[in-house]
């Protein structure tokens, strides 16, 4: 379970986002909707440990992540969190399999990769260089990389942001399907995809909005 309490984040350009308290239950899927700048991605990055928490706390399974060091948060992320980025964060010159096996640097077991690639219908692209793939295929590779380590939590930041609706819908369908039994939090602008998730959270309501400090 993920719980946020009195969470806020300040940025260098002297703006801050205040969040209402939120709880994400284990094994459920959440869709975070909201206008640009309302703090959706910032929340995701704080849960993932990419961004530090300025005030308040994020508890994951009872552990306050805001008290952890960067190193500890990195370790937690590689072990427990699968993160899917809008811009995929793949090395274009490398093959699909090499982009996934990069996790082995941290000792992650990637032995189930073929099964995941098959579920995502890109097993035949396994040895292709990422730069030769379409946007939808790249996002599936990013999903495979996030899933292969069998994380408890999957965070997806605008996973359909670079895809057209049809492909985006297909990707979301596969993402929800493959994430069953795990906590999935996905940020998206597109309300049409809300039916695939257990819960939809309007972040415009969940944050006190941006304020100048």
């Amino acid at each position: 379970m993920i719980c946020t309490k009195n969470l806020s984040k300040h940025f260098k350009n002297e703006t801050a986002i205040d969040y209402h308290d939120m709880t994400f239950e284990d094994g459920k899927s959440y869709m975070l909707l909201g206008a640009s700048g309302c703090g959706k991605s910032t929340l995701l990055n704080m849960i993932a440990g990419i961004l530090s928490v300025d005030s308040g706390s994020i508890e994951i399974d009872g552990v306050d992540m805001s008290l952890k060091t960067q190193k500890e948060r990195d370790k937690f992320r590689i072990q427990k969190i699968g993160y899917i980025f809008q811009d995929f964060k793949l090395i274009p010159e490398m093959t699909v399999i090499d982009n996934i096996n990069i996790l082995r640097l941290e000792g992650v077991d990637t032995s189930g990769v073929d099964e995941i690639l098959a579920k995502l219908e890109i097993l035949d692209k396994k040895n292709k260089k990422v730069k030769h793939l379409s946007g939808g295929e790249k996002q599936r590779v990013a999903i495979a990389r996030a899933i292969v380590k069998k994380p408890d939590i999957i965070l997806a930041d605008e996973p359909t942001g670079n895809l057209n609706f049809a492909i985006g819908e297909e990707v979301i369908k596969q993402l929800v399907e493959i994430s069953k039994g795990k906590t999935l939090i996905a940020v998206t602008h597109d309300e049409r995809l809300s039916s695939y998730f257990d819960y939809v959270i309007d972040m415009n309501e969940m944050t006190g909005g941006r304020r100048d400090v």
């Binding site: 370790k75 964060k89 640097l105």
Partner: protein
């Protein structure tokens, strides 16, 4: 980690090839120059002290020393062979070794020197023995001559001018051990064999001359006395009335002068190498830093998916170590290949370059180059690790 490092390198082929080339050229040139200078130095030093003095026709004393000890050049001035008897009459003289050259070569490549078995007395033999001075038409061949021409003891060879070979067969009676000196590439025979060859060639009158006598005296004082006595002497051939002005030289003092000159050359070479190396350190460092700068995106990507900075540092250090190892090995290989190709040039100075010879300083240079290849990466990754913040 190693496998991934190789894969990551494979996607940056051109950058890596440039770094490797840069290292190979700088390190290769540095160790090649040092190795050649050292081998020539060693080669000259090893033979210089063996004879007390050399007697030969008046002229350049360095030429006489080089022609006599390293068989360089083609001496044209000669003195009568019969003068050996006069030399032996001097009580200071213990041994006189004649050196003659007929102009003929073996296979149009290897010099043929007429001498006595005494010249080869201190040499090791790969097979066979020295020739018998009391007979003729026997040869002892240097190691390289034998190797390149598949010669064995008992084989017959012909000596000739240009591509022509004289009709008379000469029997190989000995093959010298490899010495990495000029002896490896010379064919030795009795002096009288050379004369016979000339007579067989149809020369009506051939002077029985030599171009030098190598002399061992009973003691050092004897050598000095002889040098004073023989210098500026003129031999007169009673039969023909021809006069032969001679000189006597002490090989050690002549070669010391040559070595001093070589020492200066070696110093200049090393300074030039140091400049090349310094320039390349700069180039290698800049290329490595640019590579690291280009890799920033890749590093931030790895950081975002949870790879620790420690592992990323290790990955790049492994990559650059591989580049360093490959580059230094290639530099070493290239320097040996160049040594092989340049051995012909060095032979003119009486030194056979041994491409298998390795000096400790070469190892130090290669180690230095390896460190230079890896160090910028370590500095760069260390500074990145210090500034590591995903918030950026």
């Amino acid at each position: 980690m190693f496998k991934f490092a190789l894969k990551n390198m494979a996607i940056k082929k051109i950058q890596i090839i440039l770094v490797v080339l840069s290292v190979v050229i700088s390190a290769g040139v540095a160790i090649l120059a040092y190795n050649i200078a050292s081998q020539i130095d060693d080669g000259i030093s090893s033979n210089a002290g063996y004879y007390s003095l050399i007697v030969g026709p008046a002229g350049s004393n360095t030429d006489l020393a080089m022609n006599s000890m390293y068989f360089t050049g083609n001496p044209t001035e000669t003195i009568p062979y019969s003068y050996m008897d006069t030399l032996y009459k001097d009580t200071n003289v213990r041994r006189v070794i004649p050196l003659a050259i007929g102009g003929g070569t073996y296979k149009n490549q290897y010099k043929v020197v007429g001498t006595s078995a005494d010249l080869l007395a201190n040499k090791g033999f790969d097979s066979g023995n020295a020739f018998d001075d009391s007979t003729d038409c026997q040869v002892v061949v240097g190691y390289t001559v034998a190797q390149r021409n598949n010669l064995s003891v008992g084989d017959k060879i012909k000596i000739g001018h240009g591509t022509d070979a004289h009709g008379q067969d000469l029997e190989v009676v000995g093959i010298l051990e490899q010495s990495y000196s000029s002896y490896d590439t010379v064919v030795f025979t009795q002096v009288k064999t050379l004369w016979h060859l000339h007579e067989n060639e149809g020369e009506e009158h051939h002077d029985h001359n030599v171009y030098a006598f190598l002399i061992n005296t009973n003691n050092l004082t004897g050598a000095s006395t002889l040098i004073r006595k023989l210098n500026n002497t003129v031999i007169v051939d009673e039969e023909s009335g021809t006069t032969y002005p001679i000189q006597a030289i002490e090989p050690m003092s002549i070669m010391r002068g040559v070595l001093d000159d070589l020492g200066d050359t070696k110093y200049i070479t090393l300074v030039l190498c140091a400049i090349i190396l310094a320039m390349n350190i700069l180039v290698i460092s800049i290329i490595t830093l640019l590579n690291m700068y280009n890799s920033k995106k890749e590093i931030s990507l790895m950081r975002l998916i949870g790879i620790s900075m420690k592992k990323i540092n290790l990955l790049y250090i492994i990559q650059n170590s591989i580049i360093g190892i490959i580059s230094t090995l290639l530099a070493f290989g290239a320097s040996r290949l160049c040594l092989l190709l340049m051995s012909g040039f060095a032979q003119k100075m009486g030194v056979v370059l041994n491409y298998g010879k390795f000096y400790p300083l070469e190892f130090v240079i290669l180690l230095g180059v390896f460190i230079i290849t890896v160090l910028p990466t370590i500095i760069c990754t260390y500074s990145m690790a210090r500034k590591d913040s995903l918030e950026q």
